[in-house]
Amino acid sequence: MTWVLRGYTALLFTFVFAPIFFSMMFSFNSARFPTLPLEGFTTHWYETIFADEDFWRAARNSLIVSVSTGVLATILGFCTAYSDYRYRFRGQGAYLAIILLPPTIPLIVMALAMLAWFSKVGISGQVWTIIIAHTVLTAPFAMAIIRLRLNQIDASMEAAAWNLGASEWRAMREVILPFCRPAILSSLFLTAAVSFDEFTIAWFVSGLNKTLPVHVLEIVQGTIDPQVNAIGTLVFLTSMTLVIAAQLSIFFRLQRSTR
């Protein structure tokens, strides 16, 4: 019985990882239409994209968008998490709802809503329009990560800092921020990674300032082009670096405190 279940689970994981695996494999395959058996090994697809100005422009936009989103979402998430941790106030439920709701709204609805609203107020089609939209989308994740960290703080720690002569602002800088540092780093990486892969909203609001996933979307709409596999592999490596960095920033914190 256990063996059957184990085999089944392995099969399911194969299903989940097959597309990632094939995409990486075909990015080095010389055939124009990716299928089996494999043809020769090539770096042609990578050379193609590296020579493509559109790719570099999209990559640059993606970098700007994901880094800015990470910073903004983390700042907003931190402020909200801290408010929720420190204070009890009227309307706190509604307050939490407006930050935590965005991920439950379908991306396509958010995309249309953002496009319409940004056009209405006359700020659509800019790189920072994407940044604003992605910040709305990812701030909840930042808030959740940092709030979990604040759950672990000794209830008297902030008061202890005031008690030793730190003003509220000083205690924020000397105690709350250092305490939350691993979560803040983790949040920066994770929100940047989510933003780096998001394409629905970016596609709607970006106008001519495409990000990398929007660039991929436009290639996919045209033909079957193995370039996509090469870009996908690069994007995958970037995202994984961010995710692993996020994991490590928490892991190293643990290491330090148990040394």
């Binding site: 279940l5 990674a193 979307l217």
Partner: protein, 281 residues
């Protein structure tokens, strides 16, 4: 703390302003926009039912609506069923460290481009793709898998499976083991143990997992478009076509509002079901 407190407001206000301007604002505007008019390819602010009466009287909108609803619900059920044995294995038959690794692995897909994975499935499922090439070796096929409901389902399952397995595993792993032990001692076979103790105890988590799968599939346009061939178009595809092709944003807004209302009703029902106390017998 009644008096004005600059420190507290510094941390409390930013998100209210931000989400007010860029989250509540857009959503409210979308609802308003569904009553606007389009004249000479220009949108005019108005309060007319024209878009609603037009969209709600069109057969293709309703076809699309029911199709999307059924596909999303079906895929949520399918994914839940597919995930359950694996979650059972991870929760009850594997070691703690293996479970942690499995969950870490399942987080990876969230950070790989969904588009690229869909493209990869496109290549795998194509007439001359990886699967048909494999089947050809043993003299089978080729089978048409792209541009079918099967294709769409593969995409939906790919999108939702990792999350569902994670949520199910976490739920199952937190069931009190003594409950299962007690059922065994009372002579329940493995199937009865699942139906009599595990399913009721894990109900909330299982429903929440399925709800997330539904939400993701319901709002996705990539799988039905690239793998399902948009036959028929789902609601998200309808929104894209109406927005991108013409200037009919108000009609797209009607579809968006329909989606939000549907989602709200379903999420509300599911949560009610999930948290309802079991009837005492």
């Amino acid at each position: 703390m009644k008096r004005f407190n600059a420190y507290a407001l510094t941390f409390r206000l930013p998100i209210i302003i931000w989400q007010g301007l860029f989250f509540i604002g857009p959503l409210a505007f979308t609802i308003a926009m569904s009553f606007f008019l389009v004249k000479n390819f220009r949108m005019e602010e108005a309060f007319e039912m024209k878009n609603w009466s037009r969209m709600l009287s069109r057969g293709y909108v309703w076809d699309s609506y029911w199709f999307t609803l059924m596909m999303a619900a079906g895929s949520a059920a399918l994914t839940s069923l597919l995930a359950f044995p694996a979650s059972m294995y991870l929760a009850f038959r594997s070691s703690e460290s293996m479970r942690r690794w499995a969950i870490f692995l399942l987080i990876i897909p969230f950070f790989t481009s969904y588009l690229v994975r869909t493209f990869s499935w496109y290549v795998i499922l194509a007439e001359s793709g990886v699967i048909n090439a494999g089947l050809g070796l043993i003299g089978l096929g080729p089978f048409t898998m792209l541009n079918t409901i099967f294709g769409t389902l593969v995409g939906y399952v790919m999108l939702t499976l990792p999350l569902v397995v994670i949520l199910q595993t976490v739920t199952l792993a937190s069931i009190d083991r003594s409950l299962i032990q007690a059922a065994r001692n009372l002579g329940c076979g493995p199937v009865r143990v699942i139906f009599a103790t595990i399913l009721p105890a894990a109900k909330t988590g299982l429903i929440v997992a399925a709800l997330f799968a539904f939400i993701l599939a319901f709002g996705d346009f990539v799988a039905p478009y690239y793998l399902g061939g948009s036959k028929p178009p789902t609601l998200p595809i309808l929104i894209i076509d109406t927005t991108k092709a013409g200037q009919q944003w108000p009609r797209a807004a009607v579809v968006a509002v329909m989606m939000m209302v549907t989602l709200f009703v379903i999420a509300f029902t599911a949560i009610l079901l999930a948290y309802r106390k079991r009837a005492s017998r």
